[in-house]
Subunit: 214 residues, 2 copies
C-alpha cells in the first residue's frame, strides 16, 4: 500500500534554509541543518559515493537509511528542480549530475508549459507536470506501483501537500540550532497533531526526529 512521505529539515525554531540563488541553491543555513545527516554512513555512501564504511551508524543513520527505503516515485516543486534559477536553459537537468540519487520517476510541478521528459542514468526520469497536486499524486502513485511516493520539497510544495491532507508520514529532522531566519517549516500547519500521531526520538547528534503519522 503506497504511503505519501515527506522528510524535512528544520532548526529548533522551526526555520529551514532559504535558498541563495543559482550559486548556492540551498542557502547558507543548509549546512548546519543537515550536518548530522551528511555525517551518516548511509548518506556518505548513497549521496557522496563513499564506500569506505565511514560515517555515523546511530539513530540519524537509521533515519537516513529509511529515507532511501521503498520510494517508487518522487514529486518536487519547480524551484527545487531549479527551474526558477535556470529559467532560460532548456537543457537544465537539475542539480544532481548525470545520475541523480532518486532512481525512480520524479514529477516536477511547474506552473508553465511542461518540458519533455528527461531520462537520466540510474533509473531517474524527470517528468514535468502543470496540473493540480492531487492529479500529479495520482499519477505518481500509479508509477510507484505499490512503493511509496515522496514529496521531496521544497518547503512550500511540502506544506501544500500536508495542508491538502495528502501526506501519511511527515518526518522532520530538527537540528539543535537556532536560525531565526529562513522559511517557516510549520507555517499554516496548526493542529497537525490532531490529524496525525506524533512520535519523537533524539539522536546522538542532538537532532530531534519528529514524525507525524496517520
Amino acid at each position: 500500500m503506497t504511503r505519501v512521505r515527506i522528510d524535512l529539515f528544520s532548526s529548533l525554531d522551526g526555520c529551514t534554509s532559504a535558498g541563495g540563488g543559482a550559486e548556492n541553491p540551498m542557502g547558507e543555513d543548509w549546512g548546519p541543518l543537515t550536518a548530522a545527516y551528511v555525517a551518516t554512513r548511509t548518506m556518505r555512501e548513497r549521496v557522496f559515493g563513499d564506500t569506505s564504511g565511514a560515517g555515523t551508524t546511530g539513530i540519524d543513520d537509521a533515519y537516513a537509511a529509511a529515507f532511501f527505503d521503498g520510494v517508487g516515485a518522487e514529486i518536487m516543486g519547480a524551484a527545487m528542480f531549479g527551474l526558477h534559477s535556470h529559467p532560460d536553459d532548456p537543457e537544465w537537468k537539475g542539480w544532481w549530475g548525470d545520475e541523480p540519487p532518486f532512481g525512480c520517476p520524479v514529477y516536477v510541478l511547474t506552473g508553465t508549459a511542461p518540458r519533455p521528459d528527461i531520462e537520466m542514468r540510474g533509473g531517474t526520469t524527470f517528468r514535468f507536470r502543470n496540473a493540480p497536486v492531487e492529479d500529479v499524486l495520482a499519477e505518481a502513485t500509479a508509477a510507484a506501483a505499490g512503493l511509496d511516493v515522496r514529496v521531496g520539497g521544497g518547503i512550500g510544495t511540502a506544506r501544500a501537500f500536508v495542508r491538502a491532507g495528502l501526506v501519511d508520514d511527515l518526518h522532520v529532522a530538527i537540528a539543535p540550532v537556532v536560525l531565526d531566519r529562513g522559511h517557516r517549516v510549520w507555517e499554516d500547519l496548526r493542529g497537525l497533531e490532531q490529524t496525525h500521531r506524533m512520535t519523537t526520538q533524539v539522536a546522538e547528534s542532538g537532532t530531534i526526529h519528529v514524525t507525524f503519522t496517520r
Copy 2:
C-alpha cells in the same frame, strides 16, 4: 553559586501563547502548551494544593520538581505581573491570590514609577523596579543569597535576559502541538547553541525538554 534560570513553554513550531487580556491573561493556547505539566504530581501539589498524590511521576514531573528547587529570587515583567491588564488598580497584587507560589522576593520590572513593596503570605514579596535589567539582576542575586534567580517571564522579558547574555540555564518544554500563532519563543536568539550547550530529553507525554546550559 547563583545561576540565572529560565523555564519557558513552546509549541513545536516555536510559538508561545499570546495573552488574552485581563479575562484570559495566558491566552487560549496556554492550556495545550502546559497540559503535560499541569498533569504532573508536583504541579498538582505545589500549584493546585492537591496532596492526594495524584498526577504523573515521569520525566515531566522531574522537570516540574526541578522548577521549584533552589530558587531564591524571581524576576518578571510588568505584563506577567498584570500591571498592563490592571493599570488603574493600585491595589493589584498579581494573579496568584494571597499566597503566591514563589515564596521568595519577586522583582517586577516596570517602565513607570515603582509601586511600594507588597508582602504576601508564604514568603513572597513583590518589589517593583524601574531600572536596567543588569541592576535588577544584581539586586535579585544578592537577595537570593546563593540560591538561583529565575527570570519567570513573560517571553519578551525572558528573551531580553538571554540576549543580554545573563542566563545560565534556559529550559524550554516543547509541547507536541503546532500552534502557528502567538509570540515567537526563539526570536532574536540565533546562534544560542554557540554560547550554550544544548541537551534534549523526550517525556512520556511527548513533551520535548530542551535545555541550554553554559
